[in-house]
Symmetry: C2
């Protein structure tokens, strides 16, 4: 046996932190267990749990933010709809990198994409009485379901694993034809599975969204991190696939956290389709005693009531990072491609030691390398694998907690550093030696 | 007649901006009308509408924030409960300036006090089934009621004008004995009326909060701005009155917006009584599938789901501004006292021209001078006064929109500058000449 942490010490820490169910633990709990074990023993952990950026915050953003601080913008409430600079640059950004037209008015900064989805869930589920459920194309980001718990809204979900390509149509329609679905959510590339919905799938989603009048929330947290195709040149094709080409019922969520390594500053924009922005919903007007215009209600009667705008200087930072990208002065993909390099090596090490990639294919090609990947090990459930990996000093998230029916864990590449690879290899080998053996004994 | 803007142009702008009911317009709408009139005519407005700081952002905060940006804290998600520095300094701040003991754990940074009350409303109204209404001791901040509209919670409210001192007890009990009140909210000093609840009144609120198990949300947005008593020396009496001396069921909301002129950066702390933080509520545990411990649920299952923490660098800025204040290096009252100087002069001008202060007394003394004051004019309702003042180039908020039953408007002193006083005097005189005359004719 060559475990790094013995079962007793792991159990001690789990008890100490009141983690009720380690195998289904949240990201936050796994993170605390790993941190505490490392603290207690001095033995370094290979932290594949939280999806926090592993690169320094973008320097163009930092400089712009310092300049804004010096200019004194910190004293005055920022406009509820966002400062004009960030709205203008977000509009240019989606045109330059996605080839989608959205006016600056409809690009709304929020306190991270978490606040975007929170606000959008509220608006979407209140537009039409009875049409108040959210449909998750899972696996997905567990926090979005927790948001619905706060709001008190209901949801449906399914694991897309068995429903790729044309099969997606019937599956989606099964939920949508009830008339209860107000919004559909997915992330592309996907957190946790790193699968990417292909153009044909987005077309299905878009067509059904129009037919059943459902708003599609497309989470672009890992924007342009599908490195199988080079999308990085602004104003030039190829452009990444998006549902925005197939319906007017969409909101794109563009976080600064991963693409500019700006997670600590909590800044995103939600880019609302102009047609959706302008739609009038009597139920919104009645509830908020306002115009009932989707975008106006969202900004002035919902988001403003939650945080009254977002940090002024960070809005200028985000504006400047987007401007520099659009104008070809900043190649943010050159930074984030580092995650793909790490993923490739990590997958290699795991796969050489009895593991396999769980979500391994899109419709037409193999899943690429990026911020996350998924791995499984024969004979182990996702929860058991999470627990066993902890004994070998590797932290991860069980796929079951993300709405997946597959057995495995999510691995995040962001904290991996060059000097940790030999350690990962050693631990993966030890894991395999122990588990392979134990399988042979049985 | 000596109006600055004639009725037609005001009506044009009101129509252009789709303001449905000018006399009951929100702060946001009045602000837009004033801005647009100024833009259209080039004639400067005396802007008494929005309570935005009229002083530069605190330099100690700006420097700390720049340092944090340079240190690279912008890349990583801040801890859900806040960075240790801001928690520690908030705990010291409430001890040094209010003489109240709250552990750093229970001091939670939020994206402005708007996010504090939003999160607290959710938590408080979900603790106990059936106990789900909020009681406003009005006049108050209209946004807090709008927050309940987003959440879908109900409220009760009354105008405290007729219920000062011992009369407050029966009035409060009338609502609380139904068992439906989960939380009570007020600001002290009060927005909009600048009245201050006295120690005897806070004692009544605290005693009843304990008896009826109700959480008191004490909004300290204008902390230490009651300049009738000098509270500014840290660690030394006199300390300002607070409900925290009379109950364990409280949350203090401490915004950085006004005391440090930091509104643009969206940062506050909510200081939860330790006893309340530690209480277990089965309904919270069930809804969130968590521990159901009030403070833990509030941080990890509610606030985290709304914004996933708040801007990292701003947390360091707020920590440093509080530290400098507590350590006697920063006298923030010296800055904010400027508002009192302006209020005194503005009230003098209005009162010399037929106006009167509406909320003019606390239980034992006259209302002081500070960020806001209230004025009325004989024979005019609050809404009519708002409209008439606009014609004379002065913007304000009708008291009716703040839950007040008194006729008058709220005036904010923050945007008033030295060079505007002659203009204010001229316009107030003109207003009085026109209105006094018209009264005489009748």
């Amino acid at each position: 046996m060559s475990k790094v942490f013995d079962e007793n010490i792991v159990q001690q820490v789990v008890d100490e932190l009141h983690v009720a169910d380690l195998e289904n633990a949240t990201i936050g709990d796994v993170l605390l267990v790993a941190q505490r074990l490392q603290e207690k023993t001095g033995i370094p952990f290979i932290r594949m749990d939280q999806g926090s950026p592993g690169l320094p915050a973008n320097k163009i953003g930092i400089e712009a933010e310092k300049k804004a601080l010096e200019a004194g913008v910190g004293s005055q409430y920022p406009a509820a709809a966002g400062v004009p600079e960030v709205k203008e640059q977000a509009s240019r950004f989606v045109k330059a990198f996605i080839d989608v037209d959205i006016t600056p008015r409809s690009c709304i900064p929020t306190v991270g994409s978490v606040a975007s989805s929170y606000g959008a869930f509220i608006a979407c589920t209140q537009c039409t009485p009875g049409k108040d459920k959210v449909l998750f194309i899972d696996p997905g980001f567990p926090i979005q379901k927790s948001q619905l718990r706060v709001i008190g809204a209901k949801w449906e979900q399914f694991d897309i694993y068995q429903f790729r390509g044309e099969k997606l149509r019937d599956k989606l329609e099964e939920y949508m034809k009830t008339g209860e679905i107000a919004a559909i959510v997915y992330s592309n590339p996907n957190n946790p599975a790193w699968i990417c919905l292909e153009d044909s799938e987005l077309q299905i989603i878009g067509e059904l969204a129009t037919r059943y009048d459902v708003v599609v929330l497309e989470d672009l947290a890992y924007f342009l991190m599908d490195f199988r195709t080079d999308f990085r040149t602004p104003w030039q094709p190829p452009y990444p696939p998006t549902v925005a080409r197939y319906t007017d019922n969409y909101i794109l969520m563009l976080s600064s956290s991963k693409i500019f390594s700006y997670a600590g500053q909590r800044m995103a924009v939600m880019c609302v389709s102009d047609k959706l922005y302008e739609r009038h919903f009597p139920a919104l007007a009645e509830r908020y005693q306002d115009s009932g215009i989707f975008g106006q209600t969202l900004v002035a009667s919902i988001l403003y009531m939650i945080t009254s705008g977002c940090t002024a200087t960070t809005q200028y930072a985000y504006a400047e990072m987007m401007r520099a990208s659009v104008d070809g002065e900043l190649d943010f993909c050159a930074d984030t491609q580092e995650y793909a390099r790490r993923a490739e090596k990590m997958k290699e090490i795991f796969c050489a030691n009895g593991f396999h990639v769980v979500y391994d294919r899109d419709v037409t090609q193999k899943v690429g390398d990026g911020f996350f990947f998924t791995i499984g090990y024969p004979g182990l459930s996702g929860g058991a694998l999470l627990r066993q990996l902890l004994y070998y000093g590797i932290s991860s998230i069980a796929l079951g907690t993300t709405g997946s029916l597959q057995e495995g864990v999510r691995a995040c590449t962001s904290r991996m550093t060059e000097d940790m690879f030999p350690l990962l290899e050693e631990r993966a080998k030890a894991f395999h030696a122990d588990h392979n053996q134990s399988q042979n004994i049985k």
